[in-house]
Point group: C2
Chain length 262, copies 2
Amino acid sequence: MEKLFVIKAGGNILDDAAMLQSFLEKFAAIDAKKILVHGGGKIATTIGTQMGIKPNYINGRRITDAATIDLVTMVYGGLINKQLVAKLQQLHCNAIGLTGADANCIPAVKRPVKEIDYGFVGDISSDALKINNWQLLLDNGMVPVVAPLTHDGNGQILNTNADTIASALAVALSKMYDTRLIYCFEKKGVLENVDDENSVIHLIDKNKYKQLLHDNKLADGILPKIENAFNAIDNGVHEVLIGDGNDLLQNCTQQVKGTLFK
Amino acid sequence: MEKLFVIKAGGNILDDAAMLQSFLEKFAAIDAKKILVHGGGKIATTIGTQMGIKPNYINGRRITDAATIDLVTMVYGGLINKQLVAKLQQLHCNAIGLTGADANCIPAVKRPVKEIDYGFVGDISSDALKINNWQLLLDNGMVPVVAPLTHDGNGQILNTNADTIASALAVALSKMYDTRLIYCFEKKGVLENVDDENSVIHLIDKNKYKQLLHDNKLADGILPKIENAFNAIDNGVHEVLIGDGNDLLQNCTQQVKGTLFK
C-alpha cells in the first residue's frame, strides 16, 4: 500500500507567522500523499470579540451557539483555510481546502443533548466517511487541507474537533493507504519527566504504555492523546507520531524526533 | 459534447432566504453538469461594519485593502460558500466549495496600479484556467460552488468579480463541454422598454443587438452585461442567458424565460 500522512496542525503553529511558514515548507516538501487538518487558533476569538460574540460556556464546556457556528464557518472554513491553501500553492503543493460539507466528505451527527446541549457540534465516525472522494483527490495529486467543520446532511454546518477529524480520516483511509497519523502540538513528544523537555520517549508500544501507566509517569494532559493514538492503531492506522510540528515534519518519512506509537 | 451550465447567482438571491432556497432547489434539480458562481451579498458589508472595517473608495471605486481582503476571504470563501455547499448537499447535490486558490483552479494577476491602486484585486484570463482540475471534479459527479476569490500564486488571495469568473470559466470549459452561461440578476431579462418589466426580449443575436444599439433602446446598466455575453459567445460559449434566477433555472435545459444570446 502507498504511504499517506494525515497531519494535524494545532493552534500554536497557526498563531505564529514564522513557525507557520517553516511548518508549511516542511509539509510541502513531504514527498508522499498527505492531508493537513488544521485547528482554529486565536484569530477566531479575536474576530468574535470584534463582532461582539461572547464565548458561551455551560459547566466549563464551550457551547457552539448560532452566532459561534457562523463565526467559525467564516474563520476556520474561510480565512484560515484559504490562507493555508494559498500559502501551500505558493510552495507548489496542490492544496485544496475542504470542510466536511464539501463533497459530503465528512458527514456528522449533531451531538445528542444529554446533561449539556453543546449546540452545533458534530460527532463523526470513521465508518461514515466517504473514502471514494478522498481517494479521487489524493490519487489525482491534490492535497486536502481540512477545516474542523462537518455537516449534518440537512443543511447545517457543525463544529468538530480537529484531532477527532484527523484520527477518523486516518482510520478510514488506512483501508486504502499505509497511513501514519501525526499530531503536532506544543511539546517535543511524550515526556518521561514532565519537567524535562528533553526526556522525550521515542517509542511507545502497548507494553511500554502499560509500564508508564503502572509507574504513574504520564501527566493528565497527555493521557487523552495517548488513548487517541492507540485507538487509531487498533483501527488500522500503521503508526501515530506526536510531537513538535517543525521537528516531526523534517524527514517525516523516517522518524527522527517526537514519540512514535505502534 | 456534453452539456455544462455555468450559473452566476447575484447578491439579490443570496440576501433573501426564501428566494435562495427556491433558487437552490431549482439549481439542484438541473440534470446536467453544472457550476455555481456566487457573489457577495450584503452580509460582507454587515460583518465588516461590526468589525469596524470601513469601505475604502478612491474616485468612486471600491478598493480591496488588507482588512477587506481578509473580510471577503472569511465571508465569501467561508460563510457564504460553505452555507451554500451545506444547503446543496441537503438537496442531494454533491457540491464542493472552491476559491481560485483551491487546486490552483483560478490563477490570477494582481491588477497593475495605473491611475488607481485597486489593492488586492485579481485579474484573470480564461487561457490561464487549469481545466484539468475542473474536468476531474465535474466528470466525477461533483458540483463546484465558486466564491469570487482568486490568488496570485505567491500566497496572496485576491478579490475577483463573480461575473468575470463565471464568464472566464464558461469560455475555458467550452473547449470540453457544450457550455451555457447563465447570469441571474434582478430583472426578468433585457427589456425592450426599461419601464415595462414584461417587455423582455427573448432572443438577441448580433443583428438584433446592432438594431437595439441603433434604436438607442438599451439602458446604460445593461450594456456591459450584453458586451460580456457576446464576448463569451465569440470565445466559444454556446449560449448566454440573462434574467431572473428563479425563472431561468426552471427547466433551464430548455429556455423558457429571460433573454438568450447566441
